[in-house]
């Protein structure tokens, strides 16, 4: 066993709630992130890593009002209120990448949560119950993209003694319903402000500032999308680990603007470089739907080695219009309710068919994460719409978090056959 494996193993054995609350741990983590050992291909990932390390450190060390949120809750509101955001679903992905999820999945099972549910949420249940996630002052969840988030938050709020607010996002974004959602966000601003010591008017004013930053990051994200449509695509799916996290959690901050500016500029450089490659090197352009396994695996590299490049990721897409500073809460309501994961699956299916055309993909892969009802149960419809657009779809069964369910050989065999058919 090498030095890195030794260290990883020691880290796994010593991992404890106390360790996560020690200053030494976070100092070491940040030092490692800055060290010469961490040289990502994309400078933007340095921004992303440093942002999330700082926020997570604050959350664990109690240096702010910790507020948990789910994937579709608008981050701009949390930043405007001066909260210290924490995303348990994203944390589960990090836990999986460190090879720690089985331990927490087992703890969730012993608490009565069967393996028929989503492993992102079961990991969160196991980890949070054991004190491995920072204690929340508040928990906020939008009713999309899935039911599991609301259920998980509700359960943990009772267990951890935290305030919980659920937000009903209308399935049909009509004006009267959007007004009601905007009202829910405004009430949340008041409650958040009470927690963080800010008046509602101050939160609203800060929100306008957050929307300015969010709009700037969005414009840069659109530039990045445009570049990814090029042949050859300068950025493959495996190379953007920070993107989903930024879209979920950092819009409304300077760091998100910085992240996308650096990504755009480096992509532009790469496109001009003699090493940019040519379109012939892309044997297959793929659209990837849902997520990929987060635990260490060789799937993405294996795809790249075969000239199959993921040029479009469902969850890295911009799904909302520029926000209006004069109607900050209504803008947030439109942003959330307009997401294609809200409401009927046909909305998502049509968005995927449009993306497939825009990015000129040859095929699409839908990763059926076990227990994700909203996604798996909609996959046949998505495949049907993509077929109408002339795009073949492969539906892969798997689990993004539970490494014990991973069977790379089986996945490769199915992908191999699919790539040949393209």
């Amino acid at each position: 066993m090498g030095l890195v494996e030794d260290l990883a193993e020691k880290f796994k054995n010593d991992f404890s709630p106390e360790l996560l609350r020690s200053r030494l741990f976070w100092r070491t983590a940040r030092r490692l992130a800055r060290s010469r050992w961490n040289k990502p291909d994309w400078q933007a990932d340095v921004v992303s890593l440093s942002y999330f390390l700082a926020k997570t450190q604050q959350a664990f060390l109690g240096q702010g009002t910790v507020v948990w949120a789910n994937l579709l809750f608008p981050p701009e509101l949390l930043h405007a209120a001066g909260a210290c955001p924490f995303y348990p679903e994203m944390a589960s992905a990090v836990v999986a990448s460190l090879g720690l999820s089985p331990r927490f999945l087992d703890e969730a099972a012993s608490a009565g949560f069967t393996r028929d549910t989503c492993s992102f949420h079961r990991t969160a249940l196991g980890a949070a119950s054991g004190g491995f996630y920072p204690a929340p002052a508040m928990m906020l969840s939008a009713s999309y993209p899935c039911d599991s988030a609301s259920h998980t938050f509700h359960y943990l709020a009772e267990k951890l003694g935290s305030e919980y607010i659920g937000f009903d996002v209308p399935a049909h974004p009509e004006p009267a319903s959007l007004e009601i959602l905007a009202g829910q966000f405004q009430e949340a601003a008041l409650r958040l402000g009470e927690r963080t010591g800010r008046r509602e008017s101050q939160v609203t004013e800060n929100l306008r500032g957050a929307l300015v930053l969010s709009n700037r990051a969005r414009a840069l994200l659109l530039d990045v999308e445009e570049m990814r449509r090029a042949r050859p695509c300068p950025l493959s799916g495996r190379e953007l680990p920070g993107q989903l996290s930024m879209i979920t959690a950092a819009f409304g901050t300077e760091e998100a603007v910085q992240f996308y500016r650096m990504l755009r500029d480096q992509m532009a450089e790469r496109m001009q470089s003699p090493d940019a490659g040519d379109a012939d090197g892309e044997r297959a352009r793929l659209l990837w739907m849902h997520l990929r396994p987060y635990y260490p695996n060789g799937l993405s590299d294996w795809l790249e080695e075969r000239g199959a490049r993921v040029v479009c990721d469902e969850f890295a897409l911009c799904t909302w219009e520029e926000m209006d500073l004069d109607e900050p809460y209504l803008s947030l309501a439109r942003k959330v309710a307009g997401h294609f994961l809200v409401g009927p699956a046909d909305r998502r299916a049509r968005a995927m068919a449009a993306a497939a055309r825009d990015y000129q993909v040859d095929g699409a892969v839908h990763f059926n994460h076990w227990g994700c009802r909203q996604s798996c149960a909609g996959a046949p419809l998505v495949r049907s719409r993509l077929a109408e657009a002339g795009i073949p779809t492969l539906i892969l069964e798997g689990d993004c978090v539970d490494e014990r369910e991973y069977q790379e050989g089986q996945l490769r065999t199915r992908l191999e056959g699919f790539l040949e058919s393209l």
């Binding site: 069967t114 549910t117 659920g166 009903d168 399935a171 009802r373 909609g378």
Partner: protein, 359 residues
């Protein structure tokens, strides 16, 4: 069971177009007021495989059973789905896309029961009103809606009276008959035979069950079901608390606002934000009926009830009420295994064991 009895609203069967519904939060009154006939669909739990190509196999078997029945053409061509869970929403999506029904409506259902929740539900009931009017080709008037509310309130009340004192299996059977047949159903005359005193008194709680599957098995094992807190059972008996006379002079919009409020105020499903109100209800049902334990039944892959169980179990543990957790695949084909578990649980209850649980 006698088939003779009182016809609930003097309706002749088969004269009106049927509109299928699936979730107990569907306001059947609106469908009725549009001159259509609301019928709950249940599918056949033993025959759902053909739905697997359109709805992932790890989706609620009740929903897959309904879709399979739709694929066979044995369900109505008009349907109202409530957006009660991810699975139900996807059932709507698949049905609409692959089966092409004549009428297919997704009714939004909030989790919150406060002003915002009632507001969202009210808005979507107005949307449902418009869609039903357009489909039926006739307007929903204050009179027709008031009468539909009154008829359904009476039907539930009469059903409750007719089932008073009956064993849970029979109560569920009657509840399902009303849901399937609507107001045209002939309410059976109370035979005078109650649940009797035999059997161990137990409350069953969960999502949806047929009377002839797992519930009958519980009875066979020696349970006396003194409460059936399931959406195909006692939860459907609940009064909305709206009297027809109180709706006099209100326009359709205002009556719909009352319906929105009333539906969200009923004993909640586990998916609602005030789900703990159901826990209190279960505890009360146990106490008032002298039940010795609770059997919790969750349909497989039902996230709402899977996540709810540890919370309810904690409340039952705190009250020293034993609980058995069973999972149903809606076909209830593993009878032997289930029977053994129920019998073992009853054994513990009979021995009057101190607080414990079997799950």
């Amino acid at each position: 069971m006698k088939a003779e009895g009182m016809r609930l609203a003097g309706e002749k069967e088969g004269t009106r177009q049927e509109v299928g519904w699936l979730c107990a939060y569907t306001p059947v009154e609106l469908i009725e007021a549009a001159g259509l006939r609301p019928v709950r669909i249940f599918g056949d739990g033993a025959d759902s495989d053909e739905a697997n190509s359109l709805l992932h196999p790890a989706t609620c078997p009740y929903l897959r059973a309904c879709l399979a029945a739709g694929q066979r053409g044995s369900e109505p061509r008009a349907l109202v789905f409530a957006n009660s869970c991810d699975g139900m929403r996807r059932l709507h999506d698949a049905w609409k896309h692959f089966l092409g029904p004549d009428f297919c409506f997704l009714l939004d259902l909030p989790r919150r029961v406060d002003r915002a929740g009632v507001g969202i539900f009210h808005q979507d009931l107005l949307r449902l009103r418009d869609a039903l009017e357009s489909f039926a080709g006739r307007a929903i008037t204050p009179d027709s809606l008031r009468q539909a509310v009154g008829d359904w309130e009476r039907a539930r009340r009469e059903l409750r009276a007719s089932a008073d004192g009956l064993d849970g299996v029979e109560r569920v059977r009657r509840s399902i008959a009303l849901q399937e047949k609507g107001l045209s159903w002939s309410l059976p005359v109370h035979s005078g035979e109650g649940a009797g005193e035999s059997g161990v008194p137990v409350v069953v709680t969960g999502n949806i069950l047929r009377a002839d599957g797992l519930l009958a098995l519980m009875q066979e094992a020696g349970c006396r079901l003194v409460g059936a807190d399931i959406c195909s059972g006692d939860r459907f008996f609940q009064d909305l608390g709206i009297r027809e006379a109180a709706l006099e002079g209100l326009d359709v919009d205002a009556i719909i606002a009352r319906l929105a409020e009333a539906y969200l105020a009923r004993i909640p499903c586990a998916r609602m934000s005030d789900g703990s109100r159901r826990h209190v209800h279960v505890l009360e049902t146990v106490r008032t009926n002298g039940a010795r334990g609770v059997i919790y039944v969750s349909i497989k892959f039902c996230d709402s009830f899977i996540y709810d169980f540890p919370r309810l179990r904690a409340a039952l543990d705190a009250a020293s009420i034993p609980v058995l957790m069973l999972e149903s695949d809606y076909s209830d084909q593993h009878e032997g295994q289930l029977l053994t578990r129920i019998e073992a649980f009853l054994e513990i209850l009979r021995e009057n064991a101190p607080a414990g649980r079997m799950c």
